[in-house]
Amino acid sequence: MHFITGGAYNGKRKWVRALYEPKQWISAYHNHPLPVRSNDFSEKKIVLEGIEMWIKNDVESRDGSNIRANWKTYIQSWREWEREEEDRLIIMIGTDISKGIVPMNKLDRTWRDVTGWIYQDLTDLSNRVDIIWYGLNQQLK
């Protein structure tokens, strides 16, 4: 698994496209539902884009307490799917939303917190992590 993060509009998508030429692109920005089960995958290289927006949906539909645990389950099942065949790869793109001022709205604060925790879990379970900064990558893991 490869986790890609960085600020908004920093060229993350372009960088991923250039590196992998992935066939299946599942995007929260296009309102695609989160593929919680791996039988939604029909290609070998899968991009999951807009992790923070799927988390936002979760935060808006229930309290924040179980979201992180649920995500751990999703990530583990993606990883298991990936390991079943040699050339499978899950590429996850999540925008960094952690560095602004504390949001006024409680839901937004929860969203920001939960997103930070899940990004830590994603980093933990990924083989590779990159930050994209205006088109340039910095490999963190």
């Binding site: 908004a8 509009y9 939303i97 560095k99 969203w111 900064w133 205006y134 340039l136």
Partner: protein
């Protein structure tokens, strides 16, 4: 005509990015004799606090061993070209303020067309300036790390900044991110 190298420097508010930009300028001036320093300011003092910040930066440049010439161009910064030569190190401070001035001085809203025009013109100005100076140092702000708003105008603005920064980084010889006074080299070699 040969184009001057670009040094791109960003950082958060009060990160020390302007100070670091001045250091780069001094270093370039020291290592290339005969060069001059030109400070291209895009900020307009709209309140007392802004005025104080400007004075603080002016003071630091007055104490400098190599003297700075100052030009204030809130918009159309390529109009500064007559004031310098191929021996001049130009420090542009800063890109986001300049963008704001270009975007909001005409009351045309933030239509896609307007944003694209402004961005294209700004990049053209930068390329024109590069043909008329020795080096160009561009300072900008890190503003894209907070939750995206659902406000479309803000989104369009953020997208424009992101694209401008990507363009600047692509054109730069060196690019730095300044964190708490510490410059991190993101592109190029020192």
């Amino acid at each position: 005509m040969e184009k001057a190298p670009v040094y791109f420097i960003t950082g958060g508010v009060r990160s020390g990015k302007s100070t670091f930009a001045e250091e780069i300028a001094h270093e370039l001036a020291r290592t290339h004799s005969g060069t001059l320093l030109y400070y291209l300011a895009c900020g307009r003092a709209q309140d007392e606090e802004m005025q104080k910040r400007i004075e603080l930066h002016q003071q630091s440049r007055q104490n400098s061993v190599i003297p700075w010439a100052l030009g204030e161009f809130p918009r159309n910064i390529d109009h500064s070209i007559p004031f310098y030569s191929k021996q001049t190190i130009v420090l542009l401070d800063c890109l986001t303020t300049w963008l704001d001035n270009e975007l909001f001085s005409i009351n045309s809203g933030l239509s896609k067309e307007h944003l694209q025009n402004v961005m294209r013109n700004m990049l053209e100005s930068i390329e024109t300036i590069r043909k008329h100076c020795y080096s160009l140092i561009v300072v900008s702000n890190e503003v894209l790390h907070e939750p995206l708003t659902s406000n479309e105008i803000v989104q369009a603005y953020q997208k424009t900044i992101g694209k401008l920064h990507q363009e600047l980084v692509a054109r730069s010889n060196q690019a730095y991110l300044v964190e708490a006074g510490i410059p991190i080299l993101m592109k190029g070699n020192r």
